[in-house]
Subunit: 324 residues, 2 copies
């Protein structure tokens, strides 16, 4: 691999001049520039990014930390982030945290040691303090880690209300909710949204809210229990698409039909929701747009060396399909 010295030698100038044309900084005569460019071509020279990083304390690399890339919400997000960042000249490091504090910590340390320029993170376990002491631009996805920390979130409560209202409009009289983890902000918001729409109904019971943990197995079991206890239920709002798919399976297992006997609405709009039978009606988040926005914000922050204090709350959209 040719180095800047080789280029300088071949062009008959000093390394400083080469550096100047490389970075288009300072004065360089047209003649020298030509010679340097020629030498660069001849040698197929590519600047050494590591040497640059050492000097600049920047690596043109950002970290993307998600709980688990296998969770179907994240591939699309990762794709959006990577697309956008690649366009802007950045490289993406993938981290699966499993929401494990120790793993998170070691990823953070690795990032500092490698001069990673910034971090896009979706986590419920990363505390505000640890983020603070980690002096690096951060954008948080799907959750406000700390006041004043840039975040991309969606209208969770509003979306939940849309979902439940939609079930009502469709003539459903007993609407249950499969909720997500108690510790997760968006699960709380979505549950609140549900409550606001049907919590005051005369038929409403606390036991209409079952715990699905955002996962399929738990949701299947929860739904079966729910429907056995309350056979009158004719509509379900599941807090995410995975839970909704679990609910569909449970309904089928009990010999009932979706949507005839029980109509189901999910939340997220992951690709999976189109692959099921029946296809899932869902509250779609603009996942790709979220990733794109996060990436752009982060780069802004990196360039300005100052943290924008913004929260982007993106809108959600009801996609009606066969499950309702």
């Amino acid at each position: 691999m040719a180095s800047i010295k080789d280029v300088a030698g071949r062009a008959g100038v000093s390394v400083a001049t080469v550096s100047r044309v490389l970075n288009d900084k300072g004065y360089v005569s047209e003649e020298s520039r030509k010679k340097v460019q020629q030498a660069i071509k001849d040698l197929n020279y590519k600047p050494n990014a590591v040497a640059r990083s050492l000097f600049n304390k920047q690596s043109k690399t950002i970290g993307l930390m998600v709980p688990d890339i296998m969770n179907p919400f994240f591939p699309e997000l990762a794709r959006a982030v990577e697309d956008t960042l690649a366009e802007l000249g950045y490289t993406v490091i993938l981290c699966n945290s499993d929401e494990d504090t120790d793993k998170e910590q070691s990823y953070l340390e690795m990032m500092m040691q490698k001069y990673v320029d910034g971090l896009i993170v979706s986590s419920n376990t990363l505390s505000a303090e640890r983020v603070k002491e980690f002096k690096m631009p951060i954008v948080s996805m799907d959750r406000e880690i700390a006041k004043g920390l840039p975040s991309i979130i969606v209208e969770n409560k509003k979306g939940a209300k849309m979902a439940v209202s939609f079930l009502k409009e469709k003539g459903r009289k007993r609407i249950a909710h499969i909720r997500g983890p108690h510790s997760v902000g968006n699960a709380i918001d979505r549950c609140e949204g549900y409550r606001e729409v049907v919590g005051g109904e005369p038929w409403f019971k606390e036991s209409y809210i079952a715990y699905g943990n955002y996962d399929m197995k738990t949701s299947i079991n929860a739904t079966i229990k729910l429907l056995k206890l309350h056979p009158e239920i004719d509509g379900i709002f599941a807090a995410n698409d995975i839970s909704a798919i679990g609910a569909i399976k449970a309904v089928h297992k009990l010999g009932k039909k979706v949507p005839e006997d029980v109509a189901i609405v999910g939340f997220d709009g992951i690709t999976l929701s189109e692959a099921t039978t029946p296809e899932l009606t869902t509250i779609a988040q603009p996942i790709y747009e979220m990733g794109e926005k996060a990436a752009k914000m982060l780069v802004e922050m990196i360039k300005q060396q100052q943290v924008e204090q913004t929260i982007y709350r993106l809108d959600v959209q009801l996609i009606e399909r066969q499950s309702t």
Copy 2:
């Protein structure tokens, strides 16, 4: 951020000594070692990875290049790779190539510039020459890019034969195939496997092989056409799970039932295949294991500085579910 100089100063030794204890290389008196370790603790010193890379020409980073992380096959692979590599002290850079030669090229250049230590790649467009001139350990997934290049592949033909034989055992008399792209090796192998089992049957027709392109929309249309042309078809082997899901949808659209009227077997064993109704019978690849193996092989290669000339051909497994 404390540097090695700070540590040396605080410990009252030279930076060389600090480096020695850091890397556990060369002679260090017990006393000096203690002092250095204490200083490291006091200062919460972490070695600067970039400076190390500059010297070592290694970055403890590897690239993972996939066509598209949104393709449901790859998240699990990425997870396996990342888990394994993180365990071994490596960081993973994610690249979505879209099988686009230009994108691939610029990723490769970025990797050279950043002293990336190796590459795990799944691509049908990366040519043998480009890989050769890219002097860096590479493991190829799901495809042999060049003779002698380490690859992880699966028993595609054998799996296809298993799938089709299984349909026969289940009493299916007219078995069709939804094939993948003509340019993709594993699609060719799977199609061959299909042919070997039923190509000699008296009822076999060339038009029983439809083109699904490994994608859902195309497979839906192909299946609809197929079943309209040949209503006698009672079994379908789809070359991947996405196609199989498309086939299920198509069968439903035509008012027929899976598996009563048409039994369907897929290939891949992606998580998605469990989420459908009916759940998909499929030939499962050991996806996680493939990623793990690839990562371990790559690290071996990096450490030994020499390329092992091995091809791992992993076995596949029939998972019987509701679609048959």
